[in-house]
Symmetry: C2
Subunit: 470 residues, 2 copies
C-alpha cells in the first residue's frame, strides 16, 4: 500500500488505481514513470512535478465517476490538454491524478448555419480549425501554440487574433462541466443572447481547472476572411512602434492582428526562420476588408499613422505565402528563442494595459532592462495592450535570476499602476499567484477563495493554483 | 414601532429609517406613500409592491453603510435605476429598502484614447451617450428604453445594436460592487484582456441585484460610425422575413441592426408614428461600412438575399432624418402599443434561439397565436435570434389571460427545444423564474442557489427573484 500525502489529506494510491481501472479499464490508467513524466510540466520554466497516476477518459460519464472517486478519497485531479501553457497552469504540484483528454478530441457537431461548433475538450486548436476550414469557418482566439480547446477554455487563452475577435471568454456559448463531486452541469445555451440567471459559463472560463472540469464546449466561430493584407512596418525605436500601435487602435481602424517585435526578436526571426524583416522594431499587422477597395483605403490610413511615428519601412500587400511565413515565424518565436538559448532558464511576462498606456509600459520595460543590463526580447499582441518579454539567463546564475524576477515584478507593478493586469492571457498558474491579492484586493480575493471552497470543498481540483499562494 | 415581516425575517422599520437618516441625512430618506409608490413597479405588467422606505445614496460609502445596516437587521434591499425593466426585475416583492441611484449619475472619467468610460450606476443610457457623442464615442448596447447603466449591468441588457456590438456583458471591463455585508470590491481592470483569476465581473453582470450592488462601472465604447445606411424590406409573410434574416446573418454580412416587425406592428407604427412602411412584415436594418463604396457593395448583397426570400419592397439609403424617425418609432413601439391598448393587461415574451432556428420559432409563434385565436405583435432583434411578442388582453378576461400564458409557455418550450433560452435580454425577474430549472437543470440551479447563499447569506438582496421560485 502506498499512501500519498498531500495538503488535501492522503489517499491510497493502489486503491485509487484500482478504482480508475474499474472505471475506464486497465489500458487507460498508467502509473509508469514515463507516462507520469509526460504530464509533469507544461512549456513554462516552472519546475515539473510527477503526478501519481495518469488516466485517459473517453466519456463524460467516466470523468464523472473519476471525480466522484477522487472527491471521496481526497485525491488531487488536474485536467490535461496539450501541455502548452506557459505559466505552470497544469503542473500537478500536489501530485494525484492527471486526467488527460487526449481521447476526448472529437468535433461533436458543426452548427454550420449558426457559425458554431460543439467539441470535446481534448481537440487541438489547429486540428479543429483545419476541419472547420471546409465550412469556411474558424475559431478565432489563436494562442499560437497548438493548445487544446479544454486548455484554452480553462486558461481563457487569447492571442494574435484577439484584437479583432476577442479572447476565448468572448467566444464560448455553452459548456458541459463535471463538478468536483462528479455531478454534471450544462451552462449557457446556443443562443448568442443569454440573460437567464447567473453566468456560470464565465465562472468556469479562466478558472484553470480549479472549479470544475470542462467536458464539452460550444464555441462561436467566424467566417474566414476573404480579403486580407499583411503589413510590416519598421520603426527607429520600440517606443515609436508602440506609439503607432496606439495611433492605429485609437483611430478606430480594426486590425485583425497587430503584433510588436523588438529588434532582438526580429534579428532572431530573420536568422532562424529565413524571413527578411528590416532589422529594427517592427509591427506585424493584418487587415481584413469587406472588399479590396475598402482594404486599400484602410491600408493607406495605416501607412499615414505609421509615418507619423517615424516609420522607416512600410510594406503592405504582402502575398499569401509570405504572409503565412510571417505568421508561422511569429507563432514559432517563443520556440525558436528557447532553442536559441539551450540549457538556459527563462521567464515570460504577460502584462496587459489599456492601449493608451502601451507606450508607457513598453518604455518602462525597455528602461528597466537597460538599467539592470539584462536584455530580454520584447514582443506581444500590441493591438490589445498585451506585452510579453522573454528573458533568458543561465539557470545557475542566482544574480541573473534575481534580476529577472525584479524585471518581472517591475513590469507587473507598472501594469497595475497603469490600470492593467498582471496577466492578459497566460493565466495565473503558478507564477502570477503572488500578485493576485495586490491586483484584486483582499476582499475580492476572499470572495474568490470562497467560490473555490463552494465549488471544490475538498480542494482536489488543480490544487496550489490561482488563489494567491506564492 | 412598526415591525416589518418578510421571508427573510423581520426588522423594525422606525429603527431602520433612523439608521438610514443617520447615514445619508434626513432629506434623502422617505417613507411617504408617493415616494414608495414611485418605486413599486417597473414597466412590466407584473403587479407592483410598495417598498417600506426609499433612500437616495450619493456615495459608495453610503451604499456600503446602508448594506451593513440592512444585512444586520435582515431588511430586503432592491437597487433602483430608471425602472424601465420589463420582467418585474426591481419590484420590491418583499418590501424593505429601495436604493434609488438617481443621485449617483455622474460620468467619472472618459478614457477617450482607450474608448472607455467610468460611470456611476444611476446615469441614464441616453444621457451618457449624449455626453459621449462629443468624443465621437458611444456605448453600443441599446435597450431601447432610457435605462440606467446600473440597471443595464444588473440585467445584462441588450437591444438593437447587439447584433454587431454584443450585449452589456460584452462591454463591461470593470465594476465596483458593494457586497451584501457592505464590503466593497473592485472586479476586472481597464485592460481589454484579463486572465487573472475568477471572472467576478461576469458573476455580477446579469445577476439582477441579487448578488451585490454595482456602484461604478467601466464600459467599453465604440466609435460612432461615419458611414451608415438604413434599410427597410417588406415581405409577403413573417416567415419569409425570418428566412431573409437567417440568409443575411448566415452570409457573414455584419448588420449594425436587424429588426423584424410583423404586419400588426407595422400598421400600428405607421398610424401612430407617422412613418410610411409597406403594410406587411418588414425588416429594419442598418449597415455601417468603412467607406461609401464598401457600404454600397454590402447593400447590394443584402438586396439579393432579401429578393431570394420574395422581398416585395426594398429600400436602402434611407436618409439620416428618415432613419432617425424609423429608429425612434422602433424604440417607441412598446410604449405605443401600451397606449394603443388602454387598460389592457399584457405579456411580453423574450425568447432567443440560434439564428438558424429563428424562422422555426417565428413560424411556431405565428401558429400558436393563430390556433388560440389571440393575435399578438411579433417583433424583435432578429439579427441575434431574439424574438419578442407583445400580447394584450382585457385584464379581467381569465380565459384570455390563460391563453396568453399558454402562448408564452409554448414559445419558451419551443425556444429551449431549439437550443435557445427563455430570456435573451429582459432577464429572469419575476416572470421567467418558473422556467429556470427546466432551462438549466436541477444541479446548475442548485449551484446558482449556492452562489446566492454564499454572496448573500441573509437573503436580503432583491429577494424573490431569479432563482426559480414561481
Amino acid at each position: 500500500m502506498t499512501t500519498i500525502q498531500n495538503p488535501q489529506g492522503s489517499f491510497e494510491l493502489d486503491a485509487t488505481i484500482q478504482a480508475l481501472q474499474a472505471i475506464v479499464g486497465p489500458e487507460r490508467v498508467s502509473a509508469t514513470e514515463s507516462d507520469r513524466d509526460q504530464h509533469a510540466r507544461d512549456q513554462s520554466a516552472h519546475p515539473g512535478r510527477l503526478p501519481d497516476v495518469v488516466v485517459w477518459p473517453q466519456t463524460t460519464a467516466e470523468v464523472s465517476a473519476i471525480m466522484r472517486h477522487a472527491n471521496q478519497v481526497g485525491a488531487p485531479v488536474v485536467a490535461w490538454g496539450a501541455g502548452t501553457s506557459i505559466e505552470g497552469n497544469p503542473i500537478p504540484v500536489h501530485g494525484g491524478i492527471v486526467l488527460d483528454f487526449r481521447d476526448m478530441n472529437q468535433i461533436l457537431k458543426v452548427h454550420q448555419n449558426d457559425f458554431q461548433v460543439t467539441v470535446q475538450p481534448g481537440i487541438l486548436y489547429k486540428d479543429m480549425n483545419e476541419s472547420l476550414a471546409r465550412y469556411g469557418l474558424f475559431f478565432a482566439p489563436d494562442p499560437g501554440a497548438n493548445a487544446s480547446i479544454g486548455g484554452m477554455v480553462a486558461n481563457n487563452a487569447a492571442g494574435i487574433r484577439t484584437v479583432k475577435y476577442g479572447a476565448t471568454k468572448d467566444n464560448v456559448l455553452a459548456l458541459e462541466v463535471v463538478l468536483a463531486n462528479g455531478e454534471v452541469i450544462r451552462t449557457g445555451s446556443r443562443s448568442i443572447k443569454q440573460s437567464a440567471g447567473y453566468d456560470l459559463t464565465h465562472l468556469f472560463i479562466g478558472s484553470e481547472g480549479t472549479l470544475g472540469i470542462v467536458t464539452e464546449a460550444t464555441l462561436k466561430l467566424d467566417p474566414l476572411p476573404e480579403h486580407f493584407s499583411a503589413v510590416t512596418a519598421a520603426f527607429p525605436t520600440v517606443n515609436d512602434a508602440a506609439e503607432a500601435v496606439f495611433g492605429i487602435i485609437g483611430s478606430g481602424l480594426g486590425p485583425a492582428a497587430l503584433e510588436l517585435l523588438d529588434t532582438k526578436t526580429v534579428t532572431l526571426m530573420n536568422t532562424e526562420e529565413g524571413i527578411d524583416l528590416v532589422i529594427a522594431p517592427n509591427l506585424f499587422m493584418e487587415f481584413n476588408g469587406a472588399s479590396e477597395a475598402a482594404l486599400n483605403e484602410e491600408l493607406s490610413m495605416v501607412e499615414n499613422i505609421c509615418n507619423e511615428s517615424a516609420c522607416r519601412h512600410f510594406q503592405a500587400g504582402v502575398g499569401r505565402e509570405a504572409r503565412n511565413r510571417l505568421w508561422q515565424a511569429r507563432h514559432r518565436a517563443f520556440e525558436v528563442m528557447v532553442r536559441h538559448h539551450p540549457n538556459q532558464a527563462y521567464l515570460l511576462t504577460d502584462a496587459a494595459v489599456p492601449i493608451s498606456q502601451y507606450p508607457v509600459l513598453v518604455a518602462a520595460t525597455d528602461d528597466i532592462m537597460e538599467e539592470l543590463n539584462l536584455r530580454g526580447y520584447i514582443l506581444g499582441h500590441a493591438g490589445d495592450g498585451n506585452m510579453h518579454t522573454a528573458i533568458f539567463f543561465p539557470a545557475d546564475d542566482a544574480e541573473a535570476r534575481a534580476k529577472t524576477e525584479q524585471i518581472n515584478s517591475h513590469i507587473v507593478q507598472q501594469s497595475l499602476a497603469l490600470g492593467g493586469t498582471s496577466t492578459g492571457e497566460h493565466g495565473v498558474g503558478l507564477g502570477k499567484q503572488k500578485y493576485m491579492e495586490q491586483e484584486h484586493g483582499p476582499i475580492a480575493m476572499k470572495l474568490m477563495r470562497d467560490l473555490k471552497a463552494l465549488l471544490d470543498p475538498n480542494g482536489i481540483l488543480n490544487p496550489g493554483k490561482v488563489l494567491g499562494q506564492t
